[in-house]
Amino acid sequence: MTTTEPSAANPATEAEAPPPDPNAVQITINGRPHTARKGQLLIDAAADAGEYIPRFCYHERMTPVGKCRMCLVEADSGRGPAVTVSCMVPVSPDMKVDTESPTTKRMQEGILELLLANHPLDCPVCDKGGECPLQDQAFSHGPGESRMLEEKRHYEKPIAISDLVLLDRERCILCDRCTRFADEVAGDALIHFNSRGNNTHITTFPDEPFASYFSGNTVQICPVGALTAQPYRFKARPWDLSQQESTCTSCSVGCRTVVQSSRDELLRYMGVDSDPVNHGWLCDRGRFNFESVKSDQRVLQPLVRSGDEFQPVTWNAAMAEAAALITEALAAGGPSSVGIIGGARGTNEDAHAWARLGHDVIGTPNVYAQMGDGLPNGLLAESPATIDEAANAATIVLLGPDLKEELPVLYLRLRDAAAKRRSRIIEFAPKQTGLTSYAWRHVAYEPGTQAAAVAATLSDADVAAQLAKGNVVIVVGRANLAESSAATIAALNEVRAAVPGAKVLTAFRRGNVVGALRVGMRAGTGGLDTRGMLQAAADGKIECLVLLGADPLADFPDTNLARRALKAVPRIIAVDTFLTGSSQHANVVLAASAYAEKSGTHTNLEGRVTALAREVTPSGSTRADWMIAAELALELGTDLGYSSVADITAAIAENVSGYEEVTSASAAGDGVLAGAPTDLDAVEIPLPAVPERNAYEYRLVVSRVLYDKAVSTAQSPSLAHLAPGATVHLHPLDLERVGTSAGSEVKVSGTRTSVVFRVVADDTVLRGTAWVPFNQAGPNVGELIDCFAPVNDVRIETI
């Protein structure tokens, strides 16, 4: 074509030869032509072309640094072949790359000889042996022998850089992966290179451990055996492990994992790089709580109460007893006197089977998966955003809890968005959070004034201009358990009124709570939610309560109500993996299988359905929740028609709105995004009038931290001691006002009772408020929370 005009005159020619892709770069790799993307690093382009360039320091999810020099290749960009660091150099047009030339091979051999100069070669006793990039590449690209005769470096071995991670410095090849991860990805730069030259090594600051919530990832990305995880160290050899891909259910982010076991014992979880979800990362709670599955405190067989004791019984006896309890309750109070709480722990299939048992067999509308610590489930129906959409939004409005504490990998994704300046975060929180330092605007509000704070901020000209750019995602969750969820909904409505096109990512916390709600574990017409059921129970209107992996005494914010409810209910059936505070009140405990002991599907907070794998045999005679539901239904005279997980997956696809595409095949890998549900009611909660705070009182803020008394943490010995314990946090100036000092005990009095806490000075807490972490060992803050009050104020006095 001779004309430079766009050739509208000749559309036929245009159709034959589409305009060249402006992002395509033609290069030659090992003599073969390849089309790379503009700006793509040579090492990635070569991988796309099927040529794997060896590397140690390069990691797709982190900035390249070119430290290890293993990826040297010969590249010719017009001036003759030159030695090129392929992880640092982007492709250029007509570049000719040779990854196998004699020069490249010599360089690779030389680099490996140098990297091994100080490496101890203790592979036979090293945990990494068998899955070690250094070992593998020394075999595939190394010279086979070394000319180095000098003494190698020696270090004290190993040093614990945190409670979970150990460091053998002599094995380290200084690739900068762990330190880059800590700084760039986790934002906790607590490990760093120390000294220089031959003395360079990784350290923490003395007495300041690498106490990151994400420390386990450094073990996974270490290309040698320098970093090892305490829970896995010396436990197995890689070639003895069997593994399956699965999904982490520790929170509702649903990170993709590989579950590994040896001799039918769970030994390790590893993160799998899932582009839409976790980018390969896991939080430490999700990574190490496999220990709870093999805890010796597990309930291994069904138990029936006789007097104050539990007697182990056969499944037949337990089922008959459970069915009898339900039948008695139905006779005494009709279907609506039966309530089922829970289901967020299991698979979609478990929840669906129990939902059918509750709604169809027993006929009760009182079925609910949330524990009074979430938000109305109708939120799931309203223009849902995906995690990717949130992490690529121009503006992220956070109306939620501290994501670092509750949904750690979502925190990583949003932190990345803010730190790389893709997104601006506008955060509304009653207390500073992990994301506060990355927020463009942080608005601290006193509980009860959230909607007003949002309205005031949105009227700011800069904020309005930012929101007017469009592409806004609102992340909404329950920031304060001591405040009515209506406040959050009112705040959400303020934002949505100001930004009509905004999408909403609902930050529900519990593992499969979204799946459970969507496949049916929610109140039917006229049914009660968990708070309603517990209130009805306390009033003597519930004849039988089923706790499906639920522990209201620990998880329901209002402990007093939960306790009165469990005391008043005459018949309690618990389906649980452990004897929790609540299941100890049960008449029958049905022993449930735990994570990795059952297969199925999981729904994460964005509605992504992924597979859960059964990697080990269920402990004792435990059964999956769905089997218990199916059998109980049979005892009650109805056949649910489920004889396998696949039956229920098919039933879900058939019956549940949005799950039409879900099959066990589509749930594999990155899974399938379920469509927005059409069968959930819109959210309408009237905002209760919030009383003025008395100037002598403090408004209570209660939220969770990553490690608490939840069984998966408390029953994992490596994690249990990381829970901080219950303390009340006050702003340092308020501490003076109370007339106490950090570390002393204070009496915190609510409307019902007083609780004595140790006090901590914390300038991330707003003045006039008191923050207490929820569900911690020690004094119970739940005693101070009235779940019907719009806010909870407390008086704080010295003792």
């Binding site: 730069a189 000294s195 220089r196 350290t203 600051f205 003395p206």
Partner: protein, 202 residues
């Protein structure tokens, strides 16, 4: 207590104010801290990290990278004897041997009165004046065992106090930078036009 003292915190804040990003002040503050205490303590590192908004581990990493930041107490005078080629050929080994004998410590050690720390050093860039040594990084040229003894005597007697301040002292007159010359005047995010571009002239 070896955090920065109150006066030095004010200096530190002034130094931090010169930079667009607080953590750029890490190395100047390490110098300030070494001037205050003669060496860098863990407490000082934690304090600097607090002031510049970095983690203690990052400041420690920066600090240990540089040999002239001392992580353990050193004498009032740090004596560095050059051992690189020119000096060695002209008697650095004898000088070191003599220094060790005179001061009663091996290279790397500090005398028991806390006056002198003796160290080996690499080339001090004065090969024409070999053998060289430095006292608190002040050059001493064409050293012999005799003028070494003389120098040590003078230092002990305080006759050189006006010339060689105690270890850690960077300068006795603190640098004053007018506000309009501070590095932070232009935002680091503002686009920079290189001087050779025609736009820069406008």
């Amino acid at each position: 207590m070896s955090r920065l003292n109150e006066a030095n915190v004010l200096v530190a804040k002034e130094i931090i104010g010169r930079y667009p990003r607080a953590r750029s002040a890490t190395i100047p503050l390490l110098h300030l801290s070494q001037q205050q205490n003669g060496y860098i303590t863990d407490d000082a590192i934690a304090h600097i990290a607090e002031l510049v908004g970095a983690t203690s581990a990052e400041v420690l990493g920066t600090c240990t990278f540089y040999e002239m930041f001392k992580m353990a107490p050193v004498g009032k005078y740090l004596v560095n004897i050059c051992g690189t080629m020119s000096c060695q050929l002209l008697g650095a080994d004898e000088l070191m041997h003599h220094a060790e004998q005179t001061l009663g410590v091996k290279a790397g050690g500090t005398t028991s009165d806390g006056m002198f720390t003796l160290e080996h050093a690499e080339c001090q860039a004065a090969c024409t004046e070999a053998p060289n040594m430095q006292v608190n990084y002040r050059h001493c040229h064409r050293m012999t065992t005799a003028n070494f003894d003389e120098l040590i005597d003078d230092l002990r007697a305080g006759r050189l106090d006006g010339e060689i301040p105690a270890h850690g002292t960077l300068a006795r007159v603190r640098q004053q930078i007018p506000a309009d010359k501070a590095a932070g005047v232009a935002s680091p995010d503002a686009p920079v036009v290189p001087a050779w571009m025609p736009e820069a002239a406008q």
